[in-house]
């Protein structure tokens, strides 16, 4: 009996190892909420000016005013928020040269270059400029130049375009959970560096990512409206 249990445990362990060795490629959906807290469960350490802005945006949102949030008009949510946005799935594809995060949300694509050196920096961009390397099966990405008009989460955590994110992506639980450990350094916004952890659940490999067109979903494009009216 014990031998059978040990054998099953060994099989399970081997399976888990194989799954984790397969790495971060696959289709994922957020488990974590779209409101970042530090790894100790605290609100990130905003400085006074940033805290005032954050509270003002929260108050506006409570009244249904999202004019502070470009996502309301379909601008890319930025990083790391896009991974959490509306709990839409995303596909991670891995090649020797790059890693693509292909989001269902408005069909956005975040490219992480595996180049072993700093990218030619230009921007800022919605996803910033990412360069990464592998530490075993962990993808370690450094992100700079993220547009200031994005926020780190849906609650409106601000940042400047001088922020540097260091993200470590790896799987746990036999490859079924993707863990993103994110270190945020932005002295212009936060009184000290802070860390957060995001979790994502693996979806079946044959999951189909739907075609999401944000402007149509939000009925923001008159031409789409006109088109639909004349073709129905």
């Amino acid at each position: 009996m014990i031998r059978k249990f040990l054998a099953l445990a060994a099989v399970f362990a081997l399976g888990a190892h194989a799954a984790e060795a397969a790495g971060i490629a696959g289709v994922w959906v957020a488990i974590s909420p779209n409101k970042l807290l530090t790894t100790t469960g605290q609100l990130p350490p905003l400085n006074a000016a940033a805290a005032a802005q954050y509270q003002a945006d929260l108050a506006a949102a409570a009244k249904g005013d999202y004019s502070w949030d470009p996502v309301a008009i379909c601008k890319p949510p930025g990083e790391p928020r896009t991974m959490l946005q509306d709990r839409m799935p995303f596909e991670i594809d891995v090649s020797p040269a790059r890693v693509d995060f292909l989001f269902q949300w408005n069909r956005l694509d975040r490219i992480i270059g595996i180049v072993g050196k700093e990218p030619l920096y230009v921007g800022p961009y919605y996803f910033g400029a990412s360069t990464a390397h592998w530490e075993g099966s962990t993808l370690v990405a450094s992100v700079t130049g993220i547009k200031e008009n994005t926020t780190l989460d849906a609650a409106g955590l601000p940042h400047t375009d001088s922020a540097v994110l260091t993200e470590r992506f790896h799987t746990i639980n036999g490859g079924q959970i993707l863990e993103a450990d994110i270190h945020v350094s932005d002295p212009a916004t936060y009184t000290r560096d802070w860390d957060t952890k995001l979790l994502f659940r693996r979806l079946p490999d044959d999951t189909r990512i739907k075609e999401d067109v944000c402007m149509e979903r939000k009925n923001l494009n008159n031409y789409a409206t006109i088109y639909n009216s004349v073709t129905k």
Partner: protein, 289 residues
């Protein structure tokens, strides 16, 4: 008559004009003066579109401060391509290749426009690129292809939007209309046969000629049916996509386009910021702080 929408260059390449009436338009390469006349926020994009640079070096200044074109665009050395004809993974750069004439369309044999397709009512059609989506087909531009047992995922070089082709024998029942359509594929020997239906009406580029900076735009409709035959060369270095476009509401008979793509170093690409380009057009755009 072959229309020339030179004035719409910025729109054409970045978000493409909304065309009124005719179903076809030829887009010309921009002149330097047109590039200079483009709004400042698009000049960088235009230049970025004009060429993908492949260089390394120190951090460049930001655009607007005398900086260079946008993008983290280091070319990555490539391995030899796989010779497995069923393995299409890799980065495939556009190798150009002329498309065939479009029967029944302006400039094609017969020289007469086909029946007015649906979607032109009121001289208004939707251009998919206005919604920051790509048009059909790998012939549009270079593409990175990922492949697993369930699907091919094509990530295009320009708009950075993905198209997925599923290895299955039947289309999705009552598939909703989408910009990429419902694409399924099977192997016919060493050729991947891709069948696509349920495509939203839109204007799509069917012949993208990088060398001459021009491409042909065709209005497609939800009745469009595209059959692609994608074949890899014996040495693994070339990918040929022969597409047959069947849309009786637009053209008098099916027509074909052929594109050749070359296994290449991955330029990595850049954040296209298509949504910002949309600020030029969308009545509800432009209010972001």
């Amino acid at each position: 008559m072959m229309l020339r929408h030179k004035c719409c260059w910025t729109v054409a390449l970045l978000a493409s004009c909304v065309l009124a009436g005719p179903a076809l338009a030829q887009i010309e390469k921009p002149t330097e003066s047109e590039l200079e006349a483009a709004p400042s926020q698009f000049q960088n994009l235009l230049h970025g579109r004009s060429k993908l640079i492949t260089q390394t070096g120190p951090l460049a200044p930001k655009p607007g401060a005398g900086g260079g074109p946008p993008g983290m665009v280091q070319a990555v050395p490539i391995n030899n391509p796989s010779r497995d004809p069923h393995d299409l993974t890799g980065y495939w750069a556009s190798g150009g290749g002329p498309g065939g004439p479009i029967p029944g369309g302006p400039g094609g044999p017969g020289g007469r426009a086909g029946p007015r397709p649906p979607g032109v009512v009121g001289h208004t059609v939707i251009d998919a690129n206005r919604l920051c989506t790509v048009s059909l087909g790998v012939q549009m531009s270079g593409a990175r292809i990922y492949q697993d047992r369930y699907k091919l995922t094509m990530v295009f070089g320009n708009e950075l939007r993905a198209r997925r082709i599923y290895f299955t024998s039947a289309h999705t029942p009552n598939a909703p209309l989408t910009y990429n359509g419902d694409s399924i594929a099977r192997w016919d020997g060493n050729t991947l046969v891709v069948d696509t239906i349920a495509i939203k009406g839109m204007i799509t580029a069917v012949d993208f000629d990088l060398e001459n900076g021009a491409h042909t735009l065709l209005l497609t409709t939800p009745s469009l049916h595209v059959i692609e035959r994608i074949t890899k060369s014996a040495d693994g270095s070339k990918l040929t996509d022969q597409a047959t476009w069947i849309d009786p509401s637009v053209t008098s008979k099916p027509y074909q386009t052929t594109s050749t793509l070359t296994y290449s170093a991955d330029p990595l690409g850049y954040d296209s910021e298509c949504e910002d380009v949309g600020d030029m057009f969308g009545p509800n755009y432009g209010s972001a702080k």
